[in-house]
């Protein structure tokens, strides 16, 4: 029984088809990666899943129910957490507050409780704060708790965003290029961290990532999007050897440069010879 299903989702932006009849299954506890060239519709699919973008057709199932009509906040509360391609940390809140807020939200009369100190009000905040500190320690950013995100490095801001998503107590975590901008060593450490996060927090993870080294190191299952269409799916090693995928990625002469820049494979998984561009390898 999948925790979440994408059922025949189509998204049109005017005349442009961003997603065409895309379906995916996310099994409980799986780490699923979604790959594809820039503009393939990966972030659009994330936006549909987290309720930021309405699908033109199709539906999102989560925990055995259709959640199309729920807004972003409601989906977050059901347990769908996400991060963004460009980190969106709350820049005027401290790191601690960034991690505290998702577990200490103004609901059930929280606004009144802010005004009038009720008995037991401190307990909820303390629990949320302990949780925030625990998450920060787990991610190795406990030194940054008193600082503001703007003072920190890109890598730290990505971890803050991951921590904030974890603070929402998600069951499904959507990570949009969490390793972009990280160097090779940071990416390697991030891969290990990601697997530990998945296991410790018992998450189902959907990962959008261009770094194939990271994808192949962590993913249980792979979906490939191209021009809004699902091109292939399967175990990572099957997919990278899939002739359709290879053809799509190689494409015509003109597209080689673009795909070479967007998909990098580590040595050893190269399935077809191709011109190398920069540091990357082409499928």
């Amino acid at each position: 029984m999948p925790l979440s299903e994408v059922r025949n989702v189509t998204v049109h932006f005017g005349g442009v088809v961003a997603l065409a009849d895309v379906s995916m299954d996310l099994l409980e506890g799986e780490l699923v990666a979604l790959i594809g060239p820039n503009g393939a519709g990966k972030t659009t699919l994330f936006n549909v899943m987290s309720g930021i973008q309405r699908p033109t057709a199709g539906s999102i199932m989560y925990d055995r129910r259709a959640i199309n009509d729920l807004d972003t906040t409601a989906r977050a509360r059901l347990g769908i957490g996400r991060t963004f391609q460009t980190p969106q940390a709350f820049s005027t809140l401290t790191v601690l507050d960034n991690l505290l807020l998702p577990a200490w939200l103004p609901r059930f009369g929280g606004v009144i409780a802010d005004l009038v100190p009720l008995p037991g009000a401190g307990r909820a905040k303390r629990a949320a704060r302990d949780r925030a500190r625990g998450i920060a320690t787990f991610l190795g950013i406990e030194d940054t708790l008193g600082r503001y995100p703007t003072e920190l490095s890109l890598g730290q801001r990505r971890l803050i965003e991951l921590g904030r998503a974890l603070a929402t107590s998600p069951r499904l975590l959507l990570l949009d290029e969490p390793a972009s901008g990280l160097d090779a060593g940071e990416t390697e450490r991030f891969a290990e961290l990601l697997l530990r996060v998945r296991d410790v927090f018992r998450l189902t993870v959907l990962l959008v990532e261009h770094d194939m080294q990271l994808v192949l190191a962590v993913a249980d299952y792979l979906y490939v999007l191209n021009f809004g269409k699902l091109l292939a799916k399967g175990k990572p090693n099957e997919v990278v050897n899939n002739p359709d995928v290879i053809a799509a990625y190689l494409g015509g002469e003109d597209e080689r440069a673009a795909t070479a820049a967007s998909v990098r494979l580590p040595p050893g998984v190269v399935a077809a010879p191709g011109p190398t561009q920069g540091e990357g390898w082409v499928l």
Binding site: S50, G51, I52, D71, T72, T73, R75, A76, R77, G79, I80, G81, R82, F84, Q88, A89, F90, S91, T92, L93, T94, L96, D97, L100, L101, P102, W104, L105, P106, R107, G110, V111, A113, D114, L115, D130, R131, R133, G134, I135, T137, F138, E142, D143, L145, G146, R147, Y148, E161, R164, A165, A167, T168, S169, R171, V200, F201, R202
Partner: protein, 364 residues
């Protein structure tokens, strides 16, 4: 899902460890509270020392500080813009006049009712803000201000007392007649303003304020973090409107009367302009702005030649501020306080004493 993560490192992180020096124990919050207390003491002493007319001027400055604080909440805390705050202020004053004039209500009953009604009006005005932002929202709220000018305050005779406005008998407070005792009038208004400000600052320090900041910084990310963005935005508009209405209630108390011309759309634009010059991000900006709004015209009275140039001077001030002090005069004051704090607490200690739950601004 219950979380199983436990803190693994020793509790004494560098940030928690005390620095051993006495001065390092001074926190920014304590300094803020000290400054606020000193200002309050001076504000109170003013009521015992000033002559009736200067005291009335100061009373009105206080009233406008509350009105400007409504802009601090909406624009500074939540990042929204409204060009109809003076309309809310007028609506508050006019409702009180109508409730007292038509039904003989006591001021002390009419004022909270008016503030509550305007809260709801503010929530309604917040509805377009769920879809609009920036300039578009400014224009929508400006057109609402024009609607208030040309319909609410101009044609609704129940509200505007057949276009005469309202004159009220000031009530008494704990047996002291505010009609005859200007010092107590000032003190009552000071108390009400301080209570309102403390209430809003409590919200700001709590989950409400953290949610507001989160929405202002990254609205979509706030929603994906579970922040009820719609409710918190409407709440902000409601609170800002009711603060403006409270300023209107204090205005009718201070002046003893209300007329529509004080609350037209020009007044709304002036309020926003002054809030921006004085600093929209914090309370000191609102206080400075209130003083400026009332005292500046008094100064101009002595230089009649300058009166036609009022808008020009205001505009020049706005441009000068945009260039030299984007955070407004309040921002300059905060920076000065930060330097003072660093000096008092010692260079390196200052950084270490930053409260982990600081909120991006001074506490006041």
């Amino acid at each position: 899902m219950s979380i199983t993560v436990r803190t693994q490192t020793p509790a004494a992180s560098p940030r928690n460890s005390s620095h051993g020096t006495k001065v390092a124990q001074l926190t920014r919050g304590a300094l803020d509270n000290g400054v606020a207390l000193a200002v309050l003491v001076v504000a109170f002493l003013a009521s015992t020392m000033l002559q009736p007319y200067p005291l009335l001027i100061l009373t009105l400055a206080l009233v406008y500080a509350v009105a400007l604080f409504s802009i601090v909440v909406l624009t500074g805390y939540v990042g929204q813009v409204s060009l109809c705050q003076a309309s809310f202020m007028g609506l508050g004053g006019f409702l009180i006049g109508a409730l007292m004039g038509h039904y003989g209500w006591s001021y002390w009953v009419a004022a909270p009712v008016a503030v509550a009604v305007v809260f709801l009006a503010g929530v309604l005005v917040g509805l377009p803000a769920l879809r609009l932002r920036g300039l578009t929202l400014a224009i929508v709220t400006l057109s609402l201000a024009l609607l208030a000018d040309n319909f609410l305050f101009a044609n609704v005779t129940w509200l505007n007392n057949n276009s005469q406005g309202w004159t009220i008998q000031r009530p008494s407070f704990l047996g002291i007649s505010l009609e005859s005792d200007g010092a107590w009038l000032y003190r009552v208004i000071l108390i009400v303003a301080v209570v309102a400000v403390i209430a809003v600052l409590r919200l700001r320090r709590g989950r409400t304020g953290k949610s507001w900041y989160a929405m202002r910084d990254a609205e979509i990310a706030a929603a994906t973090s579970g922040v009820p963005v719609v409710a918190m935005k409407l709440l902000a508009f409601g609170i800002a409107a009711s603060l403006a209405a409270l300023a209107g209630a204090l205005y009718i108390l201070a002046e003893g009367s209300v007329t529509a011309d004080r609350f037209n759309f020009v007044a709304s634009i002036q309020l926003l302009a002054i809030a921006v010059i004085a600093g929209t991000r914090s309370l000191p900006g609102a206080v400075l702005g209130g003083i400026f709004y009332i005292v500046f015209p008094q100064i101009l009275l002595n230089f009649p030649a300058l009166v036609p140039l009022t808008s020009l001077i205001l505009g020049a001030g706005l441009i000068l501020q945009m260039i030299t002090a984007p955070q407004g005069i309040g921002g300059l004051l905060e920076a000065a306080e930060t330097r003072l704090f660093r000096r008092l607490a010692g260079g390196s200690a200052a950084h270490e004493s930053v409260n982990e739950e600081g909120d991006g601004h001074a506490t006041i």
